[in-house]
Amino acid sequence: MLAFIIQRLLQAVVVMLSVSFVSFALFQFVGDPINNMVGQDATEAQRELLRERLGLNEPWPLQFIHYIGNIIQGEFGLSYRLGIPVEDLIADRLPATMELVLVSAFMALALGVPMGVYTGLNRNSWLSRLFLTISLIGISLPTFVIGILLILIFGVWLQWLPTFGRAGVVDLGWWTTSFLTLDGWRSLIMPSITLALFQLTLIMRLIRAEMLEVLRTDYIKFARARGLRNRAVHFRHALKNTLVPVITITGLQIGSLLAFSIITETVFQWPGMGLLILQAIQFVDIPVMSSYLVLIAFLFVLINLVVDLLYFIVDPRLRLDSLSRGAH
């Protein structure tokens, strides 16, 4: 168990180091950071001073170590575009994205898992067919089209919900939240549905496939042959065995919610990380881009670690031969 965790942690560190290196390389090789920070009319002496102060005259391995040290201390540099420390920008934007992702993930799981289990158990009922048809449409609907449709229907035609922005935010000092006011929830509804819909259909289809797979296994047949009640066979034996993939999916899903939040935030002008990185890409704002890269990688690595640990709790087989599994 301990060996497994250590191994996973080491892997995580390797991934983080390589991502940091890529983002460091971005800094190093893309344009001249000095040019981006001072104006065209700065004197050569001023440039040299800044270069010296930023440590840009040192050999690159030393600079890389400085870079990593800064990241660990939470210093990501100055945004070229806004001239503000990137960590302040992120601290400002992170709560908006996190709340959006959290609400969407909850929606997608709370609806997707039961729908997947239902369609897996009742293959031929009309409701299953309906769910599956909807899911196929859901998987083919691009996120931004869902958002546009919602805005058109509920924002423009019915005028029930606000169509952009994050209203009713309460500042808690270290975090800003829209959970505490009605306005906050109202402006959260459409973005989170937009973000959740695709994931919901994906989860439903995967759970269904997994459920069908598990229902075909010998131990389910044997459970039936022992005369266990359908409830016990389906919700005790089958469901627990589909849990392992559910955990994986949830992990991957939070990752892809982070990615897709870029689109949702664009459609609804939601002031989160996604909007930040998109603007950074358009303006070639390297410090913001590379920080985003490091931050996203960190979140992914963190999620993967949690997923691995959850496997451990669910599946007793891993507790014994975790080492041999971890090795490949």
């Binding site: 131990y219 042959a225 005369g227 034996h237 007793p316």
Partner: protein, 333 residues
């Protein structure tokens, strides 16, 4: 036709199982009739695909769609069970008829402790509190020969060896005291050295509890050792049924003879080992007449056109035109 008798525990009459497909309906079990008396061991033999397992699944109501019973009746202690509602047949499974599957490695749910699986089975079929259910579970583990059951009960299936797992499976099948066990190739997936142990365990337990067994196997040796009566199936049909000793010593149907060929008989030094030519037809390609006719050494025109029914020959029943007049041709005895 068999006549239903009071002492029969299980009666299967003209059972037919088919699979509707787009190229027509495939008949997997065709007009099969037999009975099992209380406490009796009936061996069902045949090559894989002969319909043995499907017959077992049909009896216990676990055919997988699109497979379905399309004819005949199954009676347990005189009561029809082939047309019961889901919930009623569920109450029969485990409590009246137990089942043991081929592969002990996959029969147990890997995510639940062995004890949890035993206790839930016990509690499903009898009103037991947790404590007495656990005690019974430990007793059952001891009874199937698992050492230190108090420890093993809290272990997961992957911590047991194949043979030990099959013992657990047998405990699970027997723990609600069913009157009949359907054992579907219970030893095929095990090491040869362990097979005999499992078979003798099953035999001993069933004798002690008065449980009848329908032992499905392709191994004539197992039958010879275990069964009171034997039924031989070929391509979904019953071709011979009778007392095990008689069928083994004096097989009638050319197919049974072929199966016997693999067991050398003491004394008959001059008899060569028989081998059945060819292989069993696929369901979609079962020939007209006797299904065995393309492989039969004694085939006649009649076999190719008309299908023989089961008929009594010397205390056994055989479906073969060779015995129409009940006169046994000498070269076959």
């Amino acid at each position: 036709m068999t006549t239903p008798a009071e002492s029969n525990l299980l009666e299967v009459q003209n059972l037919r199982v088919d699979f509707p497909t787009r190229r027509g309906t495939l008949i997997a079990v065709d007009d099969v009739s037999f009975e099992i008396k209380a406490g009796e061991v009936l061996g069902v033999v045949g090559e894989s695909g002969a319909g043995k397992s499907l017959t077992g699944a049909a009896i216990i109501g676990l055919l997988e769609p699109p497979g379905r019973i399309s004819g005949g009746e199954v009676r347990l202690a005189g009561k029809r069970i082939d047309n019961l509602a889901q919930e009623q047949i569920r109450q029969i499974r485990g409590r009246e008829i137990g089942m043991v599957f081929q592969d002990p490695l996959t029969s147990l749910n890997p995510l639940f402790r062995v004890g949890e699986q035993l206790i839930e089975t016990l509690q499903t079929h009898a009103d037991l509190d947790e404590k007495s259910a656990r005690k019974q579970a430990i007793d059952w583990l001891a009874e199937v020969g698992i050492p230190s059951p108090e420890v093993r009960i809290d272990q997961y299936p992957h911590q047991f060896s194949g043979g030990m797992r099959q013992r657990v499976v047998i405990a699970l099948a027997l723990c609600a005291n069913p009157k009949l066990i359907i054992a579907d190739e219970p030893t095929t997936a095990l090491d040869v050295s362990i097979q005999a142990q499992i078979i003798s365990l099953l035999k001993r337990l069933c004798r002690e509890h008065g449980t009848a067994v329908m032992l499905i196997t392709h191994d004539m040796g197992v039958i010879a050792e275990t069964a009171d009566r034997v039924a031989v199936m070929y391509a979904g049909r019953l071709v011979e049924i009778g007392e095990a000793r008689k069928v083994i010593q004096n097989a009638k149907h050319p197919y049974t003879l072929g199966l016997m060929g693999s067991i050398p008989t003491i004394g008959d030094t001059e008899e060569e080992l028989r081998q059945i030519q060819g292989s069993m037809p696929r369901l979609a390609e079962i020939p007209e007449g006797c299904a065995f006719n393309p492989r039969c050494p004694n085939v006649s025109d009649r076999c190719r056109k008309h299908r023989p029914e089961l008929q009594s020959v010397d205390e056994s029943s055989v479906a073969c035109w060779l015995f129409e007049d009940a006169a046994v041709p000498s070269e076959l005895s």
